[in-house]
C-alpha cells in the first residue's frame, strides 16, 4: 500500500466501502478497476476527437498540395530535415519512456516511475527548444505565413532583396538570382517584369530556341482616381537576348539583356530565364519576378516586349541520331539534351523564384506544427503535475490511471508528429 497523502479534497474514507487500495479511488466507483476503465474510455474518446481535430488541418494540407504541388516541392527546402529528424527521434524516445512509466507504475517501481516521467519531460522540453530554434530562424528571415512571407534568403541560402526592405534591398521588388556575386543589378533593381504564372516556370522555356531576340519597351503607366490605366510614350531599350548561346555571347562581348525575354504568342505571362553573359555556364541564370505585393502604387513602369518568333529547332530525321548535331553552342549548358530526371527537375525548380503563393506552405507549416507544439507544451504541464504526484508516492499498482492516460495522450502527440515529419520536411 502506498503512503499517499490523504489530501484529496472530496474524499472521505468512511462511507462504507472496503479498502480500495488507494485513497484516490473515488467513492462513486465500485472499485479501482471500475474507475480505471471509466477513465480509460474517457481518454480514448478524447483521443478520437483529437484525431478529428487534427484531421481538419490534414485536409487543408492535402487540398493545397493537390492543387499546388510545386509550392510544396519548392518551399519545404526552407525546413531543416536534421532538426525535424532529431525532433522525431526525441519524441519517439519520450514515447518509450512514457510507456515505461506506465509499466513502472503498474509494478510499484516508484523510482523508475519518477525517472521515466522526468526523462519524458526532458525530451518534451528538448523538442520545444528545437522547435523554438526553427521558428526563430524563420521569423528572423521572414519565412513566414501568408502575406508576411517575404524571405530574406532563398532555400539555397542566397540573400534576397525583399519587398518591405526590412532585411535589405529595394522596395517592392523581389529579385531572385542564382548568382551570389552581384548579378542582382541585372535589372537595376527597378524592373517590373509582369511575370504572373510561374507555377511550372521551366516547362515551356526549356524548349529550344526560347531565347528569341526581343524588342523591349519601357512604358510609364499611370492610374487615375477611377483606377483606369493610361500609358505614356514607349521607350525602346536595348535588350538583345542571347540567340546562339553563351560562347557566342562571350566572344562578341554581348550586352546582358536587361529584361527577361518572353516566349512569343505562348503564355505571355510566363517568365523565361535570362542567361547571364560572361559567366561560366553552370546554373547562371536568374529570373525576376514580382509577386504577392498588395500595395497600391500610383505609377509604374511596365514592360512591353515584342519578340521575334523563336526559330524552330531542326528535328533530327532519325530519332536515334540525336548527337551531336543537335547540340548548338551553349545550348548544352542552358538546356540539357537528355531527359531530365525528376530530381534534376526539382533542383531546377528550387533554383528559380518561388511559385506564387509560396507563403501558403508556411501557413500550413505553422498551423500544423504550431497546434502540435501547443499539445507538446500541454503535455509538459501534465507530466510535471504527474511528476509531483509520483514523488509524493500517490501512484501504485491499483491506482495508476493518470499515468496511463497521460501516456496515451503523449503517444497520440507522437503519432501526429510521425505524420507531420515526412509530410512537411521530407517532400521529395
Amino acid at each position: 500500500m502506498s503512503t499517499a497523502h490523504g489530501a484529496h479534497d472530496a474524499h472521505d474514507d468512511d462511507h462504507g466501502h472496503v479498502d480500495h487500495g488507494s485513497p484516490f479511488i473515488q467513492h462513486h466507483y465500485d472499485d479501482a478497476q471500475h474507475q480505471f476503465d471509466s477513465g480509460k474510455l474517457g481518454i480514448w474518446l478524447f483521443l478520437a476527437q483529437e484525431v478529428l481535430f487534427f484531421s481538419a488541418l490534414f485536409v487543408a494540407y492535402i487540398l493545397y498540395r493537390v492543387h499546388h504541388p510545386e509550392i510544396y516541392s519548392y518551399a519545404h527546402k526552407w525546413l531543416d530535415v536534421k532538426m525535424g529528424a532529431t525532433n522525431t527521434a526525441v519524441l519517439i524516445f519520450s514515447s518509450l519512456t512514457a510507456a515505461w512509466a506506465v509499466r513502472a507504475a503498474q509494478k510499484n517501481q516508484k523510482g523508475l516511475l519518477i525517472g521515466c516521467i522526468a526523462v519524458t519531460i526532458g525530451c518534451a522540453c528538448t523538442f520545444l527548444v528545437i522547435k523554438y530554434m526553427e521558428y526563430s530562424h524563420k521569423v528572423h528571415e521572414h519565412i513566414l505565413f501568408g502575406r508576411y512571407f517575404d524571405p530574406c534568403i532563398s532555400p539555397g541560402g542566397t540573400e534576397l532583396l525583399t519587398k518591405h526592405n526590412d532585411c535589405k534591398g529595394t522596395k517592392s521588388t523581389v529579385e531572385w538570382s542564382l548568382d551570389q556575386a552581384g548579378e542582382l543589378d541585372l535589372l537595376n533593381g527597378k524592373a517590373l517584369s509582369g511575370c504572373m504564372e510561374i507555377s511550372k516556370f521551366d516547362q515551356e522555356p526549356r524548349e529550344p530556341g526560347i531565347q528569341a531576340s526581343c524588342h523591349v519597351f519601357e512604358v510609364k503607366r499611370t492610374r487615375n482616381a477611377k483606377g483606369d490605366w493610361t500609358e505614356g510614350a514607349r521607350r525602346e531599350i536595348t535588350n538583345q537576348c542571347p540567340e546562339e548561346g553563351l560562347e557566342t555571347l562571350e566572344g562578341k562581348k554581348h550586352e546582358t539583356p536587361k529584361y527577361p525575354c518572353w516566349r512569343p504568342a505562348v503564355q505571355p505571362a510566363v517568365c523565361t530565364p535570362v542567361v547571364a553573359a560572361n559567366k561560366p555556364p553552370s546554373m547562371q541564370f536568374g529570373v525576376i519576378v514580382e509577386y504577392g505585393d498588395e500595395e497600391e502604387r500610383g505609377e509604374d513602369v511596365a514592360i512591353d516586349a515584342k519578340c521575334d518568333a523563336a526559330k524552330p529547332e531542326p528535328q533530327p530525321a532519325d530519332i536515334f541520331a540525336t548527337q551531336p548535331e543537335t547540340e548548338r553552342l551553349g545550348q548544352k549548358a542552358i538546356q540539357p539534351i537528355h531527359q531530365l530526371t525528376v530530381h534534376e527537375e526539382h533542383e531546377l525548380e528550387s533554383l528559380g523564384p518561388p511559385p506564387e503563393h509560396t507563403g501558403m506552405f508556411l501557413t500550413v507549416y505553422f498551423a500544423m506544427t504550431g497546434l502540435h507544439g501547443i499539445h507538446v507544451l500541454f503535455g509538459v504541464f501534465v507530466f510535471i503535475w504527474l511528476l509531483i504526484r509520483a514523488v509524493k508516492g500517490q501512484f501504485n499498482d491499483t491506482y495508476f490511471g493518470p499515468i496511463d492516460f497521460a501516456a496515451l495522450y503523449w503517444h497520440i502527440v507522437d503519432l501526429i508528429w510521425i505524420f507531420l515529419f515526412p509530410l512537411l520536411y521530407l517532400i521529395h
Binding site: Q33, R103, Q106, Q203, T341, I427
Partner: protein, 127 residues
Amino acid sequence: MAATEHHDDDHNDISHVAPARVLLATGGTLLMLTLLTVLATHVDFGANINLAVAMVIAVTKATLVILFFMHLRYDKLFHTVVFVSALLAASLFVGFTLMDTSQYQQTNIWQPSNPPRAPLGPRPTTG
C-alpha cells in the same frame, strides 16, 4: 478488490503490463524506421513513389505506436472501435472534400498595380 499482493512477473490486476522487450523492440523499430524514411528521400523513385514510401513508413510507425505503446493490442476491443471509427470519420472528411476539387476553376491572382498584358486563359492543366 484491493488484492495487492506483489507479483514478480509482469502482472497487474487492473490492466495489462507491457512486456519490457515489447516496449524496447517497438521503440527501436520506430527509431530505425525514422532513419529509414530520412534515407529514403535521398533515393529518387519519382515524386509519387517517394511520397508513397514515406507514407507507408509513417503508417507502419503509427500502427506500432498504437498497438504496443498505446496498448491497443492488449486493450478492450471497444477502445479499438472508438479509435478506428475516428480514423474512418477523418478519412470520410478528407475523401469527401477531395471528391470535387477538380471541379473548380483555378483563380489567377494578380497585382492590381500591374495587370497582365494579355487576358489569362485557364491555366494549363498539368498534373
